[in-house]
Amino acid sequence: MNLILDIAWTHVRARVRQTGFAVAGVATGVGFSIMMAALMQGSQDDFTTRLVNTLAHITVSDERRTPPPQPADTRFAAAEIHGLTPEARRRGIKNPLATMAALEAWVPGAVGPSVKTQAIIRYANHDIATNVIGIDPRREARISDLPKQMRGATLNALYRATNAIIIGDRLSEKIGARVGANITLQTSTGAHIGAQVVGFFHTGVRQIDESTAYVLTKTGQILSQQTGLINELRVRLKDPMNSRAIAARIENDTGYKSVSWQEANEDLISTFIIRNIIMYTVVGAILLVASFGTYNIISTITHEKARDIAIMKSLGLSEYTVRTIFVIEALIIGLVGAFVGFVLGYLLCIALGSVEIKNPFIDSDHLPLAYTYTHYLLAGMVALVSSVAAGYQPARKAARMHPVEIIRGAT
């Protein structure tokens, strides 16, 4: 093996410029792949984090996925029932405190109650449909990032006034309400209350910031016209990626519709999958193009070294040995290219991360980048595999050279 390595190393070292170009090709491919993956993954992570931090990881609502079975179903095994009006049930989660206690016993995270209702905010000639969520400010810190997303006030401001309300900053801009503004909330069932704006929040998700408002649970229940109503339990997990499985178990245990953040944003998640397919295709194409350089250099070396190959074979080196020499050369180019590419990729990420941007759709001043070893590992592996694949064909051809033809040609 030492002999093979020696010969391979000598060949690539003797062609500094050609080898340098091939290495540069692989390194550029690896570097830009890492940068691109960091950017794509970073923006995805940033968006997901914002989404995860803004929304509850799991929302347990007082709905059920399938309507409850009718007595006729269970009593007579009815095949079909016509003209049935579903039974009117009392809204809300039954025994919310007991349900929460049962969930807190095993759910790895925190559970908080809320009252969710739809209302129209009326202020200064504006009528805006809004999700009004009644919360317990003391529990909220455990189940959402709302306390961190407050602007100019804390959640405790909800205790400051009767029917205090906190609205999204974009909503406030829309209706022109400032802190202290008295707005009106009206529901479809005719409830009608006045509320005072005590603060704003900013999540960074436009849809939420312009159509959500928070009030105290009590206020929410008044608006819903139902004392003691809790129609939503929000769960925050230590690991949001487990949401699907835990949501399924909650639904199984309680019977209530339990929606993970992934399910709630399924369309976005599928967009990410398409985005990733595009990303990996482009990254693969970059590395494939880089491997052409490796193919070129190994082909050139085998062509130039035809006489040496003939000599080695005449001395008694086997086809396998000769082939391995050139595959190792491709591997050396791939390895060096990958390592140089790692450095290049890291520097590109730093450079890209330092660029200041002003984009109304992104909160951050800088591009979000993900630094993860998996990008390096993946790009490095693809570079190595493509280099070896590129080198194999010329290596095979070289190993099959007939020494006599070359020796005759040389003489």
Binding site: H11, M312, L315, G316, S318
Partner: protein, 252 residues
């Protein structure tokens, strides 16, 4: 001094011994639109400690025969035997190993690997065989180079040596694994007369002093006349195979 004999007649003196290399009805035809016959129906036996010259005009099949004997090429029909063992059914790996252990090649041009030092070039076959420790290989290669008067040039690269020195390095490389057979294709063809003489002496010493068998293709009839045995080819056929009984006794 020499007598022309029929092909194979020269082998009668050692008829009972197993030939070191033998060709049996060997024909090599190059395929193509017009197939070319390189050697035709060759029967030949070369024994231990022989110093054999193969001569003939250009295109007579001298080198082709040497490559067939050295397992670098495969006969179209017939077979080559090394120490009585047929090689026709050997796979590529086995032929490579036979070349590595039984045969040493010296070509008209030295064919040394240009990026390696003289010492590394000589060590190459030993490293490919990997039967000795690195130290033992180095020591053996240094000994070989020293015995050929190249002890001071071991760390040089081939392009820093003269033609004669390079050819001596090539001989040292051919001897690296102590093969019993040395096949030389025009070993003096690219050298001046002084270097030619040195290389010839070297090959003759291998037979005389070390008991090797040397088969050399040459154009130089004067040189061929100084060898033990002289095989003459024409149009791919052996037309003469004569014994001189000179070289191994040191006569010129």
């Amino acid at each position: 001094m020499s007598t022309i004999v029929e092909p194979q007649a020269g082998q009668a003196t050692v008829a009972n011994a197993t030939p070191l290399i033998a060709a049996r009805k060997v024909t090599r035809i190059l395929p193509g639109i017009v197939p070319t016959t390189l050697v035709h129906d060759i029967d030949l036996a070369i024994f231990d400690n022989e110093f054999v010259a193969i001569t003939g005009p250009s295109g007579s099949g001298k080198s082709s025969l040497l490559y067939l004997l050295g397992l670098l090429d495969l006969p179209t029909t017939g077979e080559v035997l090394i120490r009585g063992r047929a090689t026709v059914h050997m796979d590529e790996e086995e032929r490579a190993l036979t070349r590595l252990t039984q045969l040493g090649f010296v070509f008209q041009f030295h064919f040394l690997l240009p990026e390696f030092t003289v010492l590394d070039n000589v060590m190459l076959p030993m490293r490919a065989l990997a039967r000795l420790s690195r130290g033992a290989m180095r020591s053996r290669a240094a000994g070989l180079l020293g015995s050929l008067g190249l002890g001071d040039h071991m760390s040089k690269r081939p392009d820093q040596l003269s033609g004669g020195q390079r050819q001596r390095v090539a001989v040292a490389r051919a001897l690296a694994n102590e093969p019993p057979i040395i096949l030389a294709d025009e070993p003096t063809g690219s050298l001046d007369s002084k270097s030619s003489e040195q290389v010839f002496e070297l090959l003759r010493d291998l037979v005389k002093m070390q008991g090797k068998t040397v088969v050399a293709v040459t154009h130089d009839l004067a040189l061929a006349a100084r060898m033990d045995r002289h095989i003459d080819l024409l149009d791919g056929r052996i037309i003469a195979d004569e014994q001189h009984h000179l070289a191994t006794t040191g006569a010129r």
